[in-house]
Symmetry: C2
Subunit: 224 residues, 2 copies
């Protein structure tokens, strides 16, 4: 019974997600669904990314949280358009939520939208929200056992960002084991080791993002 209802909810969600994807494709906007645990560093990664790329790319952000506009306030200070969605206790964003706020953004002027999902390694992985790609952030302070415990969110991610590597000396995180697990769950995934605190490794992330934007624009040009 519970499973049937879940299937219906996911099907309805997929329909809305498909129409969102259509709008983004027509506008040539690359849309990233940014995932990870509470406190893994999604917002910090986003702040660094905006700082590094906002002169080259026109970026907007949609922030998902249960409550508060704390993350939107952080992003706003970097001078890009941002919309906060509050799920009022809901554990993930869905396509309807994105659809309902999209008119707040000027799609004709954008190269990329980053949607920061609710901090949660489980539920957000199950709902498409019209994105081109998912990226999953795992902070090394969470432990190297997480990929095998939460495989779906690593399987679905086009890029996995291992964050807070500056804290490696103070933890027992086994990088070799984590990399082995992630690449066994998702062979060929783009895997980046970064620190949003020190800037280590972020160049690779910026390059990956810029390349996705370029591909999306090229695809649109060939469609027109």
């Amino acid at each position: 019974m519970q499973i049937k209802v879940m299937t219906n909810i996911l099907e309805q969600n997929d329909q809305v997600a498909a129409s969102l994807q259509d709008r983004f494709a027509k506008a040539g906007i690359f849309v990233l669904n940014l995932l990870g645990s509470p406190g893994c560093g999604k917002t910090s990664l986003l702040e660094n990314t905006i700082g590094a790329l906002k002169e080259k790319l026109s970026i907007a952000v949609i922030e998902g949280d249960l409550f508060t506009a704390k993350d939107a306030q952080r992003i706003e200070q970097h001078g890009v358009p941002v919309v906060q969605i509050n799920t009022s206790g809901g554990c993930h964003l869905d396509a309807n939520m994105i659809d309902s706020v999209l008119d707040c953004l000027d799609l004709t002027s954008l190269d990329m939208i980053v949607i920061e999902n609710v901090g949660n390694l489980v539920c957000p992985a199950e709902f498409n929200i019209g994105e081109d790609s998912k990226a999953t952030v795992l902070s090394i302070t969470e432990g190297d056992d997480k990929p095998l415990k939460y495989p779906l969110i690593f399987k679905q991610a086009s890029a996995v960002i291992l964050n807070k590597v500056d804290l490696l000396p103070y933890t027992n995180f086994d990088m070799q084991s984590a990399v082995k697990d992630i690449t066994s769950i998702h062979p060929g995934v783009t895997l980046l080791q970064v620190s949003c605190q020190t800037g280590t490794g972020l160049e690779g992330w910026y390059n990956w993002l810029s390349e996705q934007v370029r591909i999306k624009k090229a695809r649109r040009a060939s469609d027109v």
Copy 2:
């Protein structure tokens, strides 16, 4: 529609939880529902706790994870009974899952059962699983903004454990602000600052747990 279904699911869950609570009350067992993000240190806290208290108290553990028996294997090494529940992708434990594994434990011999829930700051807070108390672990590497973003799980916790305080010098975690937020969400909550790595502050946690076990046993004695 989705809300109605959710209400039914929660009502059914509460019925099973009530019957579990009844079984635990008759046996005089204190049951703790241990909550927190992936990697906040729930299993480490549990390993320390078993090491410190297993000579005084008869403890069993129920481990909840989407996949793997990694946590159960860690607990098993400490020589206490442990049962692993795999939710196969599910984002929380529910009362039926606990009910289905309870016959694996000898309830007549136990003082305390700790149920380590799925690593998730959202969904597990909504489902009672027959526990006497919830305890929420927040690692300081997750950031001081988490209590206001995920208030329910802090409101429902009888004890909040701020873990990984040994990493405070390497982060920008504002302890004063976090404590203020947690105590404003839940005035009177038991708040402990600990490090499972160094042992700092764990004595307070052991005392709190021992006191809960004592109270539960006293209540049972007065009922008989």
